[in-house]
Amino acid sequence: MNWLLEPLSHAFMVRALLVSALVGGCCGLLSCYMTLKGWALMGDAVSHAVMPGVVLAYSLGLPFSLGAFVFGVGSVALIGFVKQKSRIKEDTVIGLVFTGFFALGLVLVSKVRSNIDLTHILFGNVLGISLADIWQTLLISALVVAVLLVLRRDLLLFCFDPTHARSIGINTGLLHYTLLSVLSLAAVAGLQTVGVILVVAMLVTPGATAYLLTDRFDRMTLLAIGSSILSSLLGVYISYWTDSSTAGCVVLVQTGLFLLAFLLAPRYGILRGYGPQAP
């Protein structure tokens, strides 16, 4: 039991475990919608595009989540605008916009005077998270979960059949931007644990793993949340005991769980039919 309890004697580890479990659960829930809507690239884009916002907010003394949110939503709006006004295809526009924002973030970090550490933004710093940042993360996660729970049926319909949603009078444009705003917020929360570069894993992998395991949406959300929280906790523990990158460990555990599902899922795993109890 020592391996389990010893880390808990450090306050920073308790904080890290709590924050990463919270962020994991929140991103896990969202990841179901990202997987079903096919928005992985959008998640990647938003998480990179928040970077200049984080830098600016820190240097202006504002809460970092505010800056990140503005730039996250801004990038999404810009992607929509460029796509609508030009003949360029959406994936190209996404690639173009988020790298532009990310580059701006890099330049700002090197030029703006502040005490931000670039590696903390890029790869997360959950072991050194401050109390103020914990409160922000808590608030953001609560907001994300609340919105997703209230709108869960509408968002499911929006992912499944937007035409029907529209024809029964549901405002699909509003749902579209609500989901994108929630995505920006979750990306900001995920930033804390795994950093800009790996946030997209938090927003995609748990949903993909759960998707291989069930044909029921309710079960899919529970599985995604569960696997995401488990990966976060296990990842933080492994990083403690092996003294390795926390972000790397968390995402690696997630990827490992996906691999297990990919191989062994009862119905959709590639090894189905080879087991002793195979039908």
Binding site: V150, C159, F160, H164, R166, I168, R219
Partner: protein, 253 residues
Amino acid sequence: MRIEADHLYVDYNGIVALFDASLRLPAGCICGLVGMNGAGKSTLFKCLTGFVRPSRGRVLINGQSVAQAQRHQAVAYVPQNEGIDCSFPISVWEVVMMGRYGAMNLLRLPRSADRLAVREALERVELLDLRDRPIGSLSGGQRKRAFLARAIAQGASVLLLDEPFNGVDVRTEKLMAGLLLQFRQEGSTILISTHDLEHVRDFCDLVVLINKTVLAFGETATVFTPENLALTFGGLPADLLVGATARSGETDP
């Protein structure tokens, strides 16, 4: 009039999709919407479901604007099978329940009236046994019936069907044909977008031929002529024309 569409103009970034298209459909009729790919069939549907707002002209459904009609759950859209992600983790029951969302509260919690409507709709399309199956495990015909059940559960007076007879089995085809005739009896107006000229001839009362604009509109017997079809399809599909000529030769004394 159920549907009044007057002088609709739609363009996408300067590319004209509909040009001065007008259409009036009474209550209780089945109307075929025939045209080539890209002729504006789906654009017309999008005008009726509120997805696209015409740059000029107006659409009235039951004498109301599209938005108002939608609030009264007047318009139901039955998609083509290709337009649906079949691996979506959702059961038949949940799909049909989505027809009731517009009538529910914000959280979309079903009440007993909603459950009853869903059950009745599933019975009408003979899918009640399969209600707990994932939508992806159904055959093409069964899936089509599930979406028709969703429209029934919604209780819409205008049904828009996109290629309803594409890739369905004989049982589904018979069942759907029977149901569509019942809906007409009940006063619904059904607009069917299709390539399948055979089915149009068999049970559409009215036909709209479109190619960016309404080329011809009226009773099937008078509008569905080889000349009009040649106009609609640019004179291309000779096999279709042969069929049409043969059939009009039979029916005209």
